[in-house]
Amino acid sequence: MSFTSLEFIFIFLPVCLAGYYLFPKRFRNYFLLAASLIFYAAGEPKRMYILLLGIVVNYVVGLLLSVKYKASFIRPLILVLSIAYNFGILFYYKYLMARYGVSNVTLPLGLSFFTFRTVSYCLDVYWDMMPVNKNPAEVALYISFFPQISMGPISRYTDLIKEMRERSFDAGDFFEGIKRIIMGLFKKLVIADMLVPAIDLCFGMEPSERSVSFAWLGLIAFLVQLYFDFMGYTDIAIGLGRLFGFHLPENFDHPYAASSVTDFWNTWHMTLGAWVRSYIYIPIFRACQGKKFKKLTCYLLASLGVWLFMGAWHGVGTKMIFYSLYYYFLIAGERIVADRRKARRKKLGLGKASKTLPSTIGAHVYLIVAVFFGQLLFKCESMGQYGGYLKSLFGLAGNALTQAETSFYLTQNLLPLAVGIICSFPVVPYILDKLKAGGKERMINILAPVIYGVMLVVSLAFAFTGTYRSFVYFQF
């Protein structure tokens, strides 16, 4: 059951909300757990046992990790076995997908995302960041909470458990939740999904059939679609959380407006970034520091660990190895250049470098170019297709400069493209800040409900009439 499906919007969510607020407070977590399991069973009935087994195994692992053993190797051994179990299932399915193709094997719903949460739970208990949870319902709800189960955002155990135990109804939060859901539906249904026909056509063409202009249009449309698809989903997930009193973490902060690849990955899928930082980057870095390696060596090794993991998570195969290494080398290069510049300035007795307009523009252009080629690799199914697409972009495939499809789809998709590109940069927050500073808060308060109302009506019209399109990150 997708968040954008009519059965979710008009049946599951209203029933769930009514039931939740009708139940006394002490039973609400149990109600949410039941709702989460029903939500999961509706989407993944045959392989639901994987989720249920994951809950039981990790609950027991938590209990075992809380015991003080005489032999010091037992706790680490339990931890290693639990991580091997959790990631073993995930990578088994990733391997099957690579071997038999994504059209023949699908990943069980939310497997990646509940695996992140189970591993977070085990490691947080292992590191004594939180005491073990002896309440199986709380552990089960943390792992299966329906707003987050399919595609995150990934909450850390230590964060979600606090709100699971203590949260209260707040009308402001509730309405904020509704606004986020409307925004999410609009981003997904009206912007991201509108661009899909052009993208599918463009990426399905032979390199020589795809003109230079259509290749660029297809690539830009894909970047907008990927961002708005995932951000739309996250908005809905965060909004749903608010309706039930939870404050789920944000996942995006205008990544295309970043000024380096490092910044881009600090603002894109931020909860995955926080997860890899806590559970991969920091442990590797600390282990290197323990071996007295230099800071830069520790950074390069820890980042390599992160990017090999990121590549394996996104998919198995040559293309994903290139994808990981592409971003790894850019990020490592940025660090080496920054360190050298800092050392040179220190040697010369200069203070911190100030940003000039040309250097700021140059940094943004570099980021956009880096992301164009990196995310193109993400979209293409093979290195062969990637090479072909690159040739199309620069007119090296014997392709024309333009074709009828470019003007047709540009006209058809002008609105979602324009809104998508403008909103990829912090234009709306800037305008709102200016209006508030100019004492126009009253005008915002009057206009906002009208704008949200229009967005809701348009989104629902698209939900009723449009073709159902799954979220891009469902496959991960």
Binding site: W127, M129, R286, K295, K346
Partner: protein
């Protein structure tokens, strides 16, 4: 070592790590208050403190300390 001495030593290390000779730390200082306090500089700071005080932080201390005051408390508990 007194609490003030530990805070002064931590400030001295932080000035070197964050490359800011005018940096002043208080018990209430959090990472967001300091320019350049990211995951990399944080790990460098923790490592330099470990070397200086000859202690070893646990993972929960590396990841979950809320502010400088909590950091100083952990250092004091280890060296006393």
């Amino acid at each position: 070592m007194e609490r003030e001495d530990v805070l002064a030593k931590v400030t001295e290390i932080a000035r070197d790590v964050f490359d800011d000779e005018e940096l002043e730390l208080t018990d209430e200082t959090v990472a967001a208050d300091v320019d350049g306090w990211d995951s990399l500089t944080h790990l460098s700071l923790m490592n330099e403190i470990e070397i200086e005080f000859d202690i070893k932080f646990e993972m929960k201390e590396v990841q979950a300390l809320g502010n400088v005051g909590e950091l100083v408390n952990v250092i004091l508990s280890r060296i006393s």
